[in-house]
Symmetry: C2
Subunit: 138 residues, 2 copies
């Protein structure tokens, strides 16, 4: 079975999907990624799909699952590099990629994650403060 | 034909080789990479071979060619993610990967390129100095 490599770059794990995903490969990727997030403490996962000609419901579900797993491990997932034709097909197939954030390329994905982390830090600061404690109550 | 995606991250182009390279794929990658180096002005190329179980003479030659092409386009190439077994096989096969620099992972590859650029800048400063100016005039 082929394993998709996971590259660590700073606070981000980068996955470039280039092979046709089988059930096995998808499960292995999810497990590997979860382990790497825990081991490295990274807060962002970028999945590059430049090489994919089509994103069908199977791949769409895999991306959603990865995003959900990452989220509970306190990491944000961004899918990057989607081709225009893939986007069109996705919409035609009625697939919405629920809960998945996208960006045009790796660099913008990194920016998105950095902005998110900055926002989170900001909220955390507020949460610790007396005022935000009150607004968070309702 | 499959094309290997090239990801731009800052001043670096990142290529993760996961598919078996055919003649066509290798030539396409060399062309794509040369075009991207010129288009982006990037000074570093990182080739990740984590996914490769074996580096034979064909892949070795391809890596050397990419490094040579990049060099004439003023970009440094670093091969990262080589598995221990691959390194052992390379030596057993008598392949030396001439002119190719290696690093353990993407982050160290990036550091290597950053250090090289810093060194180059330093030399360029010297070249611009009054002494070097005399040598540049003819």
């Amino acid at each position: 079975m082929e394993r998709v490599p996971i590259l660590k770059i700073g606070d981000i794990l980068l996955v470039s999907i280039q092979v046709d995903m089988s059930d096995e490969t998808a499960v292995a990727l999810q497990e590997d990624l979860a382990e790497r997030i825990v081991a490295t403490g990274c807060h962002g996962v970028i999945i590059d799909i430049t090489a994919l000609d089509i994103v069908d419901s199977f791949v769409g579900r895999m991306l959603s699952t990865i995003a959900s797993i990452s989220r509970v491990l306190d990491a944000e997932t961004v899918v990057v590099g989607m081709r225009p034709a893939v986007a069109i097909t996705l919409v035609e197939l009625g697939l919405s990629l629920n809960g998945i954030r996208t960006a045009l390329n790796v660099e913008r994905g990194m920016e998105l994650i950095a902005i998110d982390r900055a926002d989170d830090d900001h909220h955390e600061e507020w949460d610790d403060g007396p005022v935000a404690g009150a607004t968070a109550s309702p």
